[in-house]
Structure formats: structure tokens, C-alpha cells
Assembly symmetry: none
Homo-oligomer: 216 residues x 4
């Protein structure tokens, strides 16, 4: 898990700079999540980060720049999370359940920001093309990581043929919808509830809800 950065040792200056950047990002993340990108003002970010307004501009070129930095972090984190689940022990059902659970946890933590991102992407922007492609590309990376788990099962004949990516996106849709709804309605998710929901989702994906009279 130790992500060796190209230069293991940074100057004190550089380290402090990064730390303060992260302070700003953390403040922004909370606010963007709570109020959305447009509704969050720089004054608020500055205040929450305990900096002067102008100081932010020593670390980020614009409000959008802060937002993009957050997107990067989020996508990076989600890729790491997917990799962990895909390489964890157990069969496909175990891995997918773990993924569903981790993802719901992930959404509980970052979901609001995630929502803000989707929202912002949804709008036309100048930087649209390049940035959108980047995000789509990285999302696909996640889909491929989990899709590989399904592909293995398909090769073994235990999962019906299909486009793994389709299945993964539907899995993601269910996860996201469920997590968002639970948070919206109940504020949060208890660990037990998390487990139950994750199991339910995977059960639907793998088994469906129709009762089969097997082994007649």
C-alpha cells in the first residue's frame, strides 16, 4: 500500500506547502459536499481552512482548480479501494460483497463530493472534453478492476456471458443509489445495515429475485 512517491524526501518547504494545500482541500471538500461547488464561496473555504482569502490563491489558481484537485484525489482513492477488494481473499461473491461494502463506506465518506462532481460534470464547461475524458477513463479503470473478477467467473462458466462493464456499472448504480438514499433518509449507515445492504445487492446481481425450484 505504500505508494512510493518519485522523491521519497521532500524539502521542508515543499512538505509544508503540501500540508497546507491539503488543509485547504479538506475544508473545500466538506463545503463542496455540503453545499455544492457553485454554492460554496471562497470566503467560506478560506474561513474553514483558517486562511485569508488571498492565501488560497497561493496554493490554487482558481476555485475550479481546487475542485479539480479534489476530483483527482477522489478518483485515485476509489481506484485504490477497488484494487484492494479485487485482490482480497475468497471467491467472486466474497470479493464483490466486500466491494459493495467498501464502496458504500466510501460513498458515506465522499458521496456528497461525488455528487457535486457528477453535478458539475453534467454542466457544459470549457474544459469539458479533456477533463471529462480523464474522469471517464479513470472510472473505467475501476470498472475494469472489478470487471476482471466477473470475467474470471465467466471464463469458468459460472457467470453468464455478457459485458462485465455493464454488470459492474449496474452494481455501482445500485450501490450508489442505496447509499445515497440511506444517507438522505437516515443520515448515516450502521455497520450492520451496511453488511445487510451489501449482501442484498450482491444477491440480486448474482441470483436475481425470482424463486427457482432447483433440482426438481
Amino acid at each position: 500500500m505504500s505508494e512510493h512517491s518519485p522523491q521519497e524526501t521532500l524539502s521542508r518547504r515543499e512538505r509544508e506547502k503540501r500540508a497546507r494545500q491539503q488543509d485547504i482541500l479538506n475544508a473545500a471538500r466538506e463545503l463542496f459536499a455540503a453545499k455544492g461547488f457553485r454554492e460554496t464561496t471562497l470566503d467560506e473555504i478560506a474561513q474553514k481552512a483558517e486562511f485569508g482569502k488571498g492565501t488560497l490563491y497561493n496554493y490554487f489558481a482558481s476555485k475550479e482548480d481546487i475542485f479539480h484537485a479534489l476530483i483527482d484525489q477522489l478518483l485515485e482513492d476509489s481506484i485504490v479501494m477497488a484494487r484492494q477488494c479485487a485482490s482480497s481473499d475468497g471467491d467472486a461473491r466474497a470479493k464483490l460483497t466486500r466491494y459493495a461494502r467498501s464502496n458504500m463506506e466510501f460513498i458515506r465518506t465522499n458521496g456528497e463530493l461525488f455528487h457535486a462532481i457528477v453535478e458539475e460534470l453534467h454542466r457544459g464547461r470549457k474544459s469539458e472534453a479533456a477533463r471529462l475524458q480523464d474522469i471517464i477513463g479513470r472510472s473505467r479503470t475501476v470498472a475494469n478492476i472489478i470487471g476482471a473478477v466477473l470475467q474470471t467467473e465467466m471464463d469458468a462458466g459460472t457467470v453468464r456471458k455478457g459485458e462485465p462493464a455493464d454488470y459492474v456499472t449496474m452494481l455501482d448504480d445500485m450501490i450508489r443509489g442505496l447509499a445515497s438514499r440511506q444517507i438522505l433518509l437516515h443520515g448515516t449507515l450502521s455497520p450492520d445495515e451496511l453488511d445487510r445492504q451489501a449482501g442484498l445487492i450482491i444477491s440480486i446481481l448474482l441470483d436475481g429475485i425470482t424463486v427457482r425450484h432447483s433440482k426438481g
Copy 2:
């Protein structure tokens, strides 16, 4: 299907007023859908509706008021749509497939507004409590209508026991996710593609993706 309004007969004045309100709503719907709530200005709405800017305030108390009126309409429409599918011919699979298809169509038409609504709801607002409860309540109405289809199957033992509402929301999540993604990536959905996707979603919900060796 004729929705009898509480007062069958309205004065000419009242009828004209409603008509003009609807003109404004139609203009606003297109703009909110295309650019989002915040990014749409009253000037634009006024221009598209071919009214003076001040005139809007004779019909709606504020920009937000227009937005809320649109939400009402959208929810009303979705309830109608759900009822139609639930009462259509065929077995549960047919009804659900029809629902998936109609819903995707519905999202194709209103999806951007739908997105704008979700977005707006997601944020804390003054009117939060009351409005949120109203929306949740009406969403539940939809869930119950489709849930009843599943309940019938459960009673007949052909669908495994569970909370129908859970199943419906997951169905909705898959529908919404798929539709949104298709629109975002490909711009629109062809009728054929609509059918294929609706079938896939229902197939996952009912059958799952695991291969069963039925031992005929």
C-alpha cells in the same frame, strides 16, 4: 386517465392564468434541464417564455417557486407513468420491463430536469423539511405502485420474500444510472438500445447473472 381537477370549471381568467403559468414552466423546464437551476437566469426564462421579466413575478413568487412547480409536475407525471405500467397487460416480467423502458424514456425526456431536481434536493434549503417530505412521499407512491406488482408475485411464491420497496429502488437505481450514463456518453438512446437495456436490467433483477445448471 382523465385527471379530474378539483374544480371542473374555471373562469376564463383563471384558465388563461394557468395557461400562461404553463408557458413559463415550459420555458423554465427546458432551461433548467439544459443549464441547471443556478446557471439559468430569469432573463432567459422570460425571453424564452416571451414575457417581460417582471411579469414572471405575477405568476410565481420567486425563481425557486418556479422550480418547485416543475418538481410537482414531474412527480405527478412519473406517478401517472408508473400506474400505466402497473396496470398494463402481461405478467410481472412484462410489466417491469415496460416500466424500465418507460422510465428510461421518461429520463431521456426529463432527465436533465430530474438531475437538476436531485441536485437541488441534495442541498440544504430553508424549505427543506416540508418539501423534502412531500417529494419523498410522492416517490414512495411510485415505489408502492411498482412494488405492488412484485408483492403479487411474492404472494404467489414466484419471487423471493423481501421488501418490495427495496427491490423497486434498486431497479430504479439501475434504470437511472444506465440512462444517465448513456445520455452522458452517447447523447441519446435509440429505441432498440432502449429495449435491449430494459431487458438486461429486468433480467438481472429477476434472474441474476449466475449460471444455474437446471438439470432438466
Copy 3:
């Protein structure tokens, strides 16, 4: 002199709009003249024009737009002035003296704005090319009008051959320098002083300062 505008009659609406635009331009002209473009704030313009700050944007798209409108007016006025002098009675000396005098008067009235314009042009801007060419073109129009007076004399052999435009620009340089300096040092120019200075400038241009022992 009556410049018939394409439409002799404008709607009351349009007339009032123009009047208010002119109010804003007048306020801006004074301020730009006194403090320069960059140093003048929109708040000041709004206050002097007795409008709310936002109101300015109903009449001009930006601060620069106001500036450009002023340039247009100034150039238009100077062309009119040059035409009047060139078509006035008397010989070339009389016309040129009149031009010098009028121009000094013109600079007394508009010189500060003129300076602000030159200043602003001097700096690189996005709109540089197009706008600069426009201004240069219109300046040339003035130079050509007065140059034609000199050309007539050249054709008659009473003025030595040369590029009329060169002579005119030098004349302009002297006029502008003198007027600017007088205003800077003494605040204004009395009519008598105006006459004396105009005569001096023309005398230098036409006769030079060397004493000639004519008719030996």
C-alpha cells in the same frame, strides 16, 4: 452640419436610452480624463452618473465598452472639427491657424481623455489589432483632411514638396504638446493666449525661425 441619422425619429424608449447612455459617458469621460482608465472605478462612474453600479451594465457590456464608446465619440468629433477648418474661408495660413486654434480648444476640452486613450492604446490588449487599426484609420482621416489643404498649396508651388501627412502630424505634435503643457502648467488657456500660440505654431511650420534677408 446637421448629421441626419438614418432614422430621424426614434421611439421615446430609444431616445431615453440614448440620453442615459450619454449621461454615463459624460460621467466616465470626466473621470477617465482626470484619473485615467485603470484608475477610474465603476463605483465612481456610477456615483457621478447618479446610477446604481449595476445599472451601467444595462447600457454597456463592460468598463472597456464604455471606454471604446468614448473613443468613438472623440474621433468622430475631431473629424468634424477638421472638416470645418479645412472648408473655412481664407488661404492656407488662415485655415491652418484656425485648425491649430480649434485643435487646442479641442484638446483643452478633451485632451485628458485623449491622453488616456493614447495611454491605453499603448498597452497590449486582446482587441489590439482591430481597434488600433480603426483608430489609426480615423486619425488618418483627420490628417488627410488637413493634408489636402497643404496639398493644394504644393500644387500651386507655394509650399515645398513633401509628404503632407508628415507636415500635419508635426503640426499636430506641436499643437498637442503646447496645449498639454499649458494646461499642465497654467491650468487653462485664455482666448488671447490661444490665438498667440496658434499663430506661433503656424508661423514655425510655414516660415521656420531662421531670419531670411529677403530681397537683397
Copy 4:
């Protein structure tokens, strides 16, 4: 030409301080010339001078202070230049032509800064009175130096009576106007063109443009 500074010997500390001050001034000169006073930031000056931003404040009290120091240098230089021309060989025409040429060269080199200075002076500032008087006084010094050349000719009866300062300022106006225009339109001035223009200006000043039938 050796300008003896009041104190022939300065401490090493003092000498180094002056050297660094000059480094800063050189950087500022280029930037002010290219972009104007307002548009140049202290960051840019610091970077070009290869100092930290805060360091500048050890050498100058403010951004304006730097500007004023540059004005001082420029005026000092122009006085030196004028003295050289006035004391050069040849008759008045030769000296004046040399002055015109040198001055155009001077403007080519320093013109943008010159322009920035005029611009800045033109505006009302706190330091107005004292500083303005200083600059005017030093400009007069230049005018007097060149004016003395004309005075000699007047005394000899070869130049018509008048205020030498008036003639010099008009000469300066023509020089400045011509040089500025050439730079603005063509970017620079070739040596040949410089000579031609200088000759033209002096020819106008001394001879005027009227053809005289000298009746030899």
C-alpha cells in the same frame, strides 16, 4: 563627463547596496516600459531582479518609490544627453540636428518608460506638488541647455526673436511625436530613417515649409 558623486569613496557596504538598488531599477525599468506602472507587479520585478519580493522593501519604500527613482535617472540622463549635443561641434543647425537625432534615439531606448512617466505625472497624486516641480525644473534645465544654442543665434541675428524655450519645446514635441508614432506603427526606427526624420524636423523648425523666392 565623469560625474563626480558627492562622496568619492563609499564603503563596500554602501557600494553593494547601490549596485543592488540598480539591479532592481533595471528590472523595473524594462517592465514598466513594457507594461506600464500599474500593470507591472512587484512579483514580476522581484523575479526579474532575482530577489525575493520582500527584499525589494529593503531597498525601496514602495512600488512608487521605485518609479520615482527611475524618473530621476531618466531626467539625469536626458540632461547629460542635451549637454553633449549643445557642446558638440558645428553650427546651430548641426547641433540641433544632433539633438533631434539623439533625442529620438533616447526615446527609442527609453520611450516606453518616458511614456509611463508622462502618464503617471498626468494623474493627480499625493506627492504631486513637490515632485512635479522637481520634474518641471529638470525639464527646464534641458530646455535651457538647448535654448542657449538658439539664444546665441538670436544674439547673432540669425534666428528671429522669440522665447527660446518655446522653440525648444516645439522641437521636443515634434521629436517625441514622430518617434512615438514610428515606434507604435513600425516597431522601431532604422538609423537611416532616424537621420531623415531628424533632418526633416530641424528643417521645419528653421526653414518652415513655405517656398521662398529668394531672388538671387
